[in-house]
Subunit: 151 residues, 2 copies
Amino acid sequence: MKEDNSYESIKEIFTEYLKKHKHRKTPERYAILERIYSYEGHFNADILYNLMEAEYRVSLATVYNTLELLLECKLIIKHQLGGQFAQYEKTFGNNTHHHLICTNCGKVREFTDKQLRISIQSRKFAHFQTSHYSLYLYGLCHKCKLELKNG
Amino acid sequence: MKEDNSYESIKEIFTEYLKKHKHRKTPERYAILERIYSYEGHFNADILYNLMEAEYRVSLATVYNTLELLLECKLIIKHQLGGQFAQYEKTFGNNTHHHLICTNCGKVREFTDKQLRISIQSRKFAHFQTSHYSLYLYGLCHKCKLELKNG
DNA sequence: TTTGTTGCAAAACGTTTGCAGCCTC
DNA sequence: GAGGCTGCAAACGTTTTGCAACAAA
């Protein structure tokens, strides 16, 4: 099981995808993939760009380009949570989780709920083939609820 | 029941909100609210701005300003579906629904599922007070699935 | 050798902001 | 009359694009 989520097998998925779509296997692309898979949690293009700086310098354009490819082969997923930056996260080695978003401070928390996950994933459609999903619950986090009550 | 979703009662909610927060009751704000509530489906700031053109001319800044107020008093909700525009929709007189988003053509379809809605709405958290939620299922619509298979 | 990819910088895009004048309150 | 709101245009910040140089195939 652990092996399935190792960087080697992830890399293989990416290589297959690149080959199939006649894209080139550039060192930049693999460096970005590797960086993403050693990162825990949500990130955005700018965070990733700055993380890369230290290891293997790539341009921001290449970061965006590679994120697009990784989205297409489903190695990462994209969230449009707040206003500004799009957020990304790796899909393998990551438990499927749901998001709690505070409408006051914008903080994002994750939670897992197997029952909920199954309810959603088992929903089938005649004319739509689901590949993945996102569930966002909006509301007030503990801190903001107290602040608004006292303020 | 029908009365509860009429424009008059919606307007009252907005008026209450404006009064409570010491905001002014300007004709622009009511014109925008009215336009939104006579519109079916998702819209974005630009669509709304263009719709207003014919009836009661307002600036784009005012559109954004008013959308912000309507969000705060929960008369509309905001979706960050694709990349570009944020999408909005009215909340009253609208069944709670979920979204199917085609990852190929970007088309958004809605569906309702009472059981799923209840499962999600009944999930409680110790340190988070949920106000609303969004569920997005990503995948391929019928048309795109066929196109990709044949292409 | 061919052609996809890179880095750079400039452009594009939706959204936000600053400001003078206007209009609720 | 005071101060919040409007329209306008300019600014903002993220993402995309055009192009010349480069490198994978």
